[in-house]
Each structure stands twice: as C-alpha cells, then as structure tokens.
C-alpha cells in the first residue's frame, strides 16, 4: 500500500532497507547466536548519516521528524530487532537532551551522537521500579557545584557500550512527582560501573546491563532541564519514542509474514502448496490485515506528532500498544505456518518470535499503555458535556 511518502522519505526508506538487506540480514542469525554487539552495523548506520535522523541540522543531524525515524526503524527491524533496538535506544537516551537540554549541553553531546561516534542510553528502570517508575531509589545530592549520584539502574539497553547516559534520580523524595531530576552521566565519570551482560530470550544482539553509580560525582551543569522535572522528562521522552517501538513491531511482523508466505508457496503437502489451504490463507490474511492496520496507525500517529500537538500521550501509547501485540501474534503464527521448519533455528522465524516478546514489555508495558489510554479517555469524557 502506498502511504504517499515524499520523495525524500522514500529515499530514506530505501537507504535503510538497503542497509537492512545487505548488511543486517546476512549476519542476524550469527549476532543472535553469539550475542555480539553490532558495532560494525552502528558504523554503517553512522556512515549513512542515519545516526542523526532526528537530531537538528544545527548539531550535525538530518533534522527529520518522528515519521522519518519510524520509517528507518521499520526497515531496520525487518533485518533484526536486536540491532534496531541498539540503534533506537541511543535516540531514547538523546531525547531528554533534545527536549530539555541547554544549548551548551546540546552543542556538546548531540554532534558526536549525530556522527555515530558515541551511543547513548536511557537509565530509569530499577529492580523495584519498572512500571512503577515513581518508586526509583537512585538519588542525586547537590554538593557545591556538583551532584553526587548513588543507585543501581537495571536492564539498561546499551549499558557499558554507550558513552552518554541520561539518568533519572531523586533530588527530593518528599516532593513526590516533582522529586526526580534528569542528569547526563558520561561513561568515564567517577563511580560509574556496569553489571554483567544479561542473558535474554530475544534481541540477543542488544546489550542489557545494570548501571551502578557509587558516589558518582558530576558537575552541576549536567542537570538536564531543572530540578524536579525528572518524571516529566521521562514521560515526554517515552511519548516521543513509543511510535518507534510500534515501528519496530511493524518491521518485524512484515519480515515474519514475508517468510511465512514464501514458505507456504514452496511447501507442498497433499500434492499442493500449503498456501492453497483456506486455513493457512486465513491465518496469512489476518496477519497481513493486522499488520497493515498497525502500520497505518504508526504512520498516522507519527505524522500527528510531527505537527507538534500539545499532548500526544494517548496517541503515542496506542502506536506502541497495538503494533506490538500484533507483532507477537504474527510471529507466533508465522512459526505455526512454517510448522516444524518454523521451530528450527535454521529458519529465521523462531528468532522473530523470541524478539517480539520484549516489544510488549519495554518502553512501558502494554498494560501501562492501556492505563495511559484509559486515563486519557477518562479525562476526555469528563470534559465533554
């Protein structure tokens, strides 16, 4: 289906697809097997200028919007969601700077990110604070012209490989929702260390570690925005990133559908290709329809966000919720269509099924997405008279 993209958007999409086809796909099984960090691919993306998609031109980026970012993420996810997550998580770490950073901070950190010389990471989650982000314990204490951070962040994507970490820590527990602040911590800052690489079900090319801060002393100018804005920085960052998670799901599901449908045409049983059977056709039809609906939703929300509305939390949550639930179902069905072959590691779909699960969990669980949408509806309908 033609989504009436501009020529520039098509060029961007083609470039991302070229990289996905030629560079990611040939090594995705190996990356998954060996759990190697995809540095070579990050270098290729940097060469293609794609590390700067949403970074303004003034800082060396392409200055493009949410839709363009989603187009690239979708194309890369068709290659490998582990690789695409590594790439996307760097933008997640950059959003706080883009949205709330000072000119000095932007000039310092955005150019190396845009050039792909450094990766970023977003450090919010802790062992007792997942969906309940307000329960974080990591704290930042002001000491003269510095802050001293203490705490342990859990399951941080790109931890240990990234240079720049946006860390959410409490500056005044008593202030509740205004009790946290966002900070830029550099890998080389004193007191920064990382936990072991976690072993995951899927996205195994993506690295996940603890970030441990022990008397981590950073200059006061590393505060992003103002004290007390931490949870607002978090909400706005996640809102902006969520359609991207939806885009990953769309790319993944498309790849799974492509594999399953191609297989169904080749595989003969009872003397005919199995795609001839209505049972298989109906499965493929449902997969294709749900996938297209998800794609249309992601693009519509991305375009809406690019029009700079005041509040897009509900739309962003929808753009994450629906596609990721869809991708889980589509990848499971893809394995089913491929039967025994689908279950074998020699074929790519079992990896896709393993990769899909995390999309329903990270960047806000799909249960939290439903909370957000429900709350928004509650507010909307109480305003109507």
């Amino acid at each position: 289906m033609d989504y009436l993209l501009t020529e520039e958007q098509r060029m961007l999409q083609d470039l991302a697809r070229q990289i996905s086809e030629e560079r990611v796909k040939p090594i995705r099984a190996q990356l998954d097997e060996e759990e190697t960090f995809p540095w070579d691919l990050m270098r290729d993306l940097a060469q293609a200028d794609l590390c700067g998609t949403i970074i303004p031109e003034a800082y060396g980026g392409l200055g493009l919007g949410c839709l363009e970012n989603c187009l690239v993420l979708e194309a890369l996810a068709a290659g490998c969601v582990g690789v695409a997550t590594t790439y996307a998580a760097s933008f997640l770490g950059a959003y706080p700077l883009l949205l709330f950073g000072s000119e000095e901070q932007k000039s310092r950190y955005l150019p190396p990110l845009a050039r792909g010389e450094a990766l970023a990471a977003f450090a919010l989650t802790e062992s007792q604070a997942g969906s309940d982000a307000g329960a974080i314990a990591a704290a930042a204490v002001k000491d003269g012209d510095a802050y001293v951070l203490n705490g342990t962040k859990q399951w941080i994507t790109n931890a240990g490989e990234a240079e720049f970490y946006t860390v959410i820590a409490l500056t005044d527990r008593a202030k509740g929702a205004r009790g946290a602040s966002a900070f830029l911590v550099e890998k080389g800052d004193p007191g920064v260390s990382f936990g072991k690489k976690e072993k995951k079900m899927g996205i195994r090319a993506s690295v996940t570690r603890e970030v441990v801060l022990e008397d981590c002393r950073i200059p006061a100018d590393r505060l992003i925005g103002k004290e007390g804005l931490g949870f607002i920085v978090t909400m706005r960052t996640l809102d902006l990133a969520r359609p991207g998670a939806g885009a990953l799901a769309v790319g993944l599901a498309q790849e799974a559908l492509d594999e399953a449908a191609a297989f169904a045409k080749e595989r003969h049983q009872f003397g005919v290709p199995i795609i001839s059977f209505q049972a298989v056709q109906h499965m493929l039809a449902d997969m294709a329809t749900q996938l297209e609906a998800a794609r249309a939703l992601v693009y519509a929300v991305a375009r809406y966000i690019d029009s700079a509305p005041k509040d897009y939390s509900k739309a962003a949550a929808m753009a994450k919720l629906f596609p990721t639930d869809m991708a889980m179902k589509v990848t499971v069905d893809a394995v089913q269509v491929m039967g025994g072959h689908g279950y074998m590691r020699e074929y790519p779909v079992e990896k896709m099924m393993r990769d899909a699960k995390i999309l329903q969990i990270y960047e806000g669980t799909n249960q939290i997405m439903r909370n957000i949408i429900g709350l928004a509806l509650n507010k909307e309908y109480s305003k109507k008279k």
Partner: protein, 262 residues
C-alpha cells in the same frame, strides 16, 4: 591533489536479458538496471584514496540516457561530480569503441592522475575496457588489483590477483587500475550525499562534445561484432556422487577402468 576518475557501467539487474535482433547487443532502455557490482568496489577505492591523499573523484559512464541513474546512485557514496557520455552514435559499441569514447572524455576532463575501473562488467564479461582506456591514453594499467599502497609521491604498489596467489607491481601515476572484490568493503551510501546527488547537475556529452568521428564510435567504430549470443548446449544431467573421499576414489577408479582408455 589527485584528480581521480572512476568509469562505471549500468548493467541489467535481471536474468532476463533481451537482445537487439540486428546488432545482437543488449537492449538496455527500459530494463531494470544496477551499477555493475565490480564498479562499486572501484568507487569505494577511489573514495578511500581521496580521503587519504586528497583530491576529487569524478564519475564517468557511457550509456543511454537512463545511465544517469547509475551516476546519481554512485554520487550518493560521496563522489564529487559525474559526466554522462550519451549519444545515439555510441550505441552498439564494442570494447574498443567504448574505451575510446571514455578515454576522450577523460582527456576532455583535463586528464586524470588515477583512473579506476571495475575488473569487468557482468553483462559483457570481457574485462577489456579498463586496459583499453589505458592503451588509448598511453598510461600504465594494473589490472585485477586487490590492494593498493602509496609508496611515495605519485607511486603506487599494486597487488594483482592471479589464478593462484598474487604478484606485486610498482606503478607511476598517471595510471589506470582495475579492481577485484578483494580490494575493499564498499561503504553504505550517505543520506546527505544522496540528497546532494539529487540536485547535482550531470552534464551529458555527445559525439560533438568529444570531438569524435562517427566512424570511430558505436557500432561503426567497433572492430568486433557480436554475431550470435546463445546459452551453451546442455550436456545432459551430470551424475552426482556423494560419499567419503576414499569411497569416491575407489568408485571413480572402477568407472574409469570400465570406460577404458580414450
């Protein structure tokens, strides 16, 4: 400041090739096309030399008007400029006429210090055009280069791929190098370069621009002519034997004895 030229060719991106019934050459217009794969390695090597030594990289191709797409695509890797050589008179050219046309264009550009070509085009498969351009320009040619090292001002050491192993030669600039895939890993295109490439003006030079005689170019200027193109006759389905080496050796020996001396 090195003046580097890369000659590229747009080739069919399809297994289904159609031939002109008169000239027996490929019908190129309207067929899905791509940059000859070896030429991407040539472009990459040219860019690496430019990054290391300084200079400019100009792309050159001879083809129908649609060959401009190949130039724009190659500009997307970061080359500085491109020229299309296109004229009805150039059609049907064999490698001699093609190389003459390209050589004259290089002269019109003001000459080059280093010219890169891919080893061969995957449609013609002759591997002749590169060395012939060098002959027309009277400059040395090092073919099938798998590694390039600058050893001094205007001096290159070139490792050339042989059937078994490689040799190494020293070449003085100006020179023409044809490259094999072992020479490098082509980079991915740059989006910024692709945006610039979209707006880049690509001059088109024809017969008159190059000051060439119609007798010297195209089919008229070709010393060779394609008489027939055909797939080789099938030699039947071969027997495939699988097994351990010693098993197969014994079996082969048995079969040879059975066949007797020939």
């Amino acid at each position: 400041m090195l003046r580097i030229v890369v000659c590229i060719k747009q080739v069919p991106d399809t297994q289904e090739v159609r031939l002109d019934p008169v000239t027996h050459t490929l019908k190129r217009e309207g067929v899905k096309a791509m940059i000859n794969p070896f030429d991407l390695y040539a472009v990459e090597e040219a860019l690496r030399v430019k990054e290391a030594q300084g200079g400019t990289v100009t792309l050159l191709t001879m083809g129908p008007p649609q060959a401009e797409e190949a130039l724009r695509e190659a500009l997307g890797y970061g080359a500085d400029g491109a020229v299309l050589l296109s004229d009805r008179a150039f059609a049907g050219a064999d490698t001699w006429a093609t190389s003459l046309t390209l050589a004259r264009a290089i002269e019109k550009l003001g000459g080059a210090d280093l010219i890169f070509c891919g080893k061969q085009a995957i449609d013609g498969d002759t591997a002749q055009v590169g060395p012939e351009i060098a002959a027309h320009l009277n400059i040395p040619c090092a073919a099938w280069a798998r590694k390039l090292t600058f050893t001094g001002e205007g001096r290159l050491e070139v490792e050339r791929l042989l059937d078994h192993g490689y040799d190494a030669v020293e070449v003085r600039l100006p020179a023409l190098i044809t490259v094999v895939k072992e020479i490098n890993e082509p980079r991915v295109p740059s989006f910024k370069a692709k945006l610039r490439a979209k707006k880049e003006s690509v001059p088109v030079w024809g017969l008159a621009d190059l000051g060439l005689d119609p007798e010297d170019v195209g089919l008229a200027g070709s010393f060779t002519q394609v008489v027939k193109v055909f797939p080789p006759p099938s030699r039947g389905t071969p027997e495939v034997w699988e097994g351990a080496g010693s098993e197969l050796a014994a079996r082969l020996w048995g079969r040879l004895k059975q066949m007797g001396p020939r």
